[in-house]
Amino acid sequence: MAKPLAGTYFWQGNEASAEGAIVAGCRFFAGYPITPASEILEHMAFRLPQNGGIVVQMEDEMAALGAVIGASWTGAKAMTATSGPGFSLMQELLGYAFMTETPCVVVDVQRAGPSTGQATKCGQGDVMQARWGIHGDHASIVLSPNSVQEMFELTIQAFNLAETYRTPVVLLADEIVAHMRERMTVPSLEQTTIAERKKPNSTEKQFFGLKQVAPMPSVGEGFNVAVTGSTHDEQGYRFTADPLVHRRLVRGLVEKIRSNTDRIVDFESYKTDDCDVGIVCFGCTSRAVYEAVELAEDKDVKVGFLRLKTIWPFPEKNVNSMAQTAHVVIVPEMNLGEILYEVDRAVQGAAKVVPLNKIGGGEMITPEELLAEIVGSVKAS
């Protein structure tokens, strides 16, 4: 046994994610080196074999996610990790995993893009890519950790959601959260929830496109399962032109996730029902929000915030209800405005939505910059 023992650790975010994967029961990891995600591959290469799992560095990111998908069809929990350029290369297979209902976890440690951008510096510019990078209609589950503790916890949660809903799940981290070290605790295994995929009984024949999440056979179990990324019926048979089969499958796959939004969505909230200024934040940027709120309260400004742990599905209702009391909703992001538009859509004119954006050099939005925005918006309203 080489799972991490319950206790307190001083870990790096990427290390914590790898250890979380081991606790979640990950048995296969394939990756390709890229800053700032490489430590996950390196740590897994050392640690997963100690737990009887296999790690391979593949020839590129498409091969990495491809191998993960193959492993998942043998019944193994499987994961890969990358950053922007590699995440772009993975999109086709991410869509394949969605279409074939293949559970797997993809960690995207965001850095400053586009293209090679600033490879070692933090950014939060992949928010919309994580939602819409796949071509065609789809739904996405994307989680956003803001601490080393959550790199660990949300990696486990990503596996749980992937297995429960039979879908790829993206852990959308960022360079700052992935590279910082802080104190964190590993709970005992008894206190950790671990989900497993639903398996078919021996007479079952329908393995795809069911709203209640179809049971998933593994290869080599005698089910003769036909897996395809082409439009298929419940048995996996291809229908390349039938409009009804396509509608039924794709609507079903989207509904499977959409209808469970309330179960999937997770966030941290603070005084959202009694604030003049609301903030919607995620990832490393939320660390500045905590301090800015204290500074604002010292100045007697009533501030509340909603910190997204699930970016997608987006907690529309909760953002809207915060906007019923707040006059202004500030959206700080290390990009030029992405989740901003989703917030704006959810607020529906109930409050003024104000962006606060900063990019370049990995410089975070500071508590002081946020405070200035908060105080300024109170004066203006």
């Binding site: 009887g52 593949m58 091969a63 003769n224 291809r238």
Partner: protein, 277 residues
């Protein structure tokens, strides 16, 4: 010995999608006969992976077996993932020359280098069939395809030689004219430990035959016959003489440590460090 051969016992009750005269049917037949002669009465011990293209449809979903029909070019990585977690299963990849030697070429070379214990069958029709006849990395020089209307200007890739050089345990090329040899090669490939690769040069009458002025499969098969040479014959010929020839035979058959064997070694090492900690 096993019961008599009927292709039906390995197939689902579905209509095959291939054009009249398509070599994919011959390749399918050859493979299933090989499997039959090796004593498998069903495909329970096999998993099939394929990419996108007509050839990629050979197993999926027509084989009564587990099949994973992946994206264009990515069948080999998916097969690798399956094999690593289920080394007891025979993992077989089918695909076209565009799929395996074009968009997916790097996976093919790396799988050969690593000697991953999977079998890959590349149906080489020298063209992109499914998409209607565009030039492929295997198209002979000078052929007028839909994307080389003035004649193709790239020399074709010798995929078998590349795979053999990269480190495969087994690599062979035959045409669908050589039914017996192709079937024997399939048997050798299924039973090889390590990476095995078969290129089956195959007729695609509508998308390739037409381009070179041949209307049906019979004409194409005649052409294969006239232009095929053994490796021994080819050895005595110059590069110029070999242009547009199909050099058939076994390019390599050797014992090399396989990918899974090597990984198992490192797993033992890791378990030791886990105990020491």
């Amino acid at each position: 010995m096993t019961e008599t051969f009927t292709i039906r016992k390995y197939l689902r009750d579905l209509t095959l999608p291939f054009c009249a005269g398509c070599g994919c049917v011959t390749v399918m037949n050859c493979f299933l006969r090989a499997v039959h002669e090796l004593g498998h009465n069903d495909l329970r011990k096999f998993v099939f992976c394929s990419g996108i293209g007509c050839s990629a449809w050979i197993p999926s979903p027509y084989f009564e077996a587990d099949s994973i029909h992946t994206t264009h070019g990515r069948s080999i990585p998916v097969a690798l993932g399956v094999k690593l977690m289920r080394p007891d299963l025979n993992v077989v990849v089918f695909g076209g020359d565009g799929d395996l030697a074009g968009i997916g070429l790097s996976h093919l070379v790396h799988a050969a280098r690593r000697n991953v214990d999977i079998m890959v069958v590349m149906v080489n029709n020298m063209i992109y069939g499914m998409t209607g006849g565009q030039v492929a990395p295997t198209t002979p020089l000078g052929v007028r395809t839909t994307t080389t209307p003035y004649g193709s200007f790239d020399p074709p890739l010798d995929t078998v030689r590349l795979v053999a050089t990269a480190g495969a345990s087994y690599a062979a090329r035959w045409t669908t004219m050589h039914f017996g040899q192709l079937k024997e090669a399939m048997k050798a490939a299924v039973t090889t430990s390590g990476f095995s690769f078969i290129e089956a040069v195959s007729p695609c009458p509508p998308a390739f035959g037409k381009k070179i002025g041949l209307k049906d499969a019979a004409g194409m098969l005649r052409l294969f016959k006239e232009n095929s040479l053994s490796l021994e014959q080819a050895d005595k010929m110059t590069k110029e003489e070999l242009e547009n020839k199909i050099v058939v035979g076994e390019y390599v058959r050797r014992k090399r440590p396989t990918f899974t064997e090597r990984i198992c070694e490192t797993l033992k090492e890791a378990e030791k460090t886990a105990e020491e900690n």
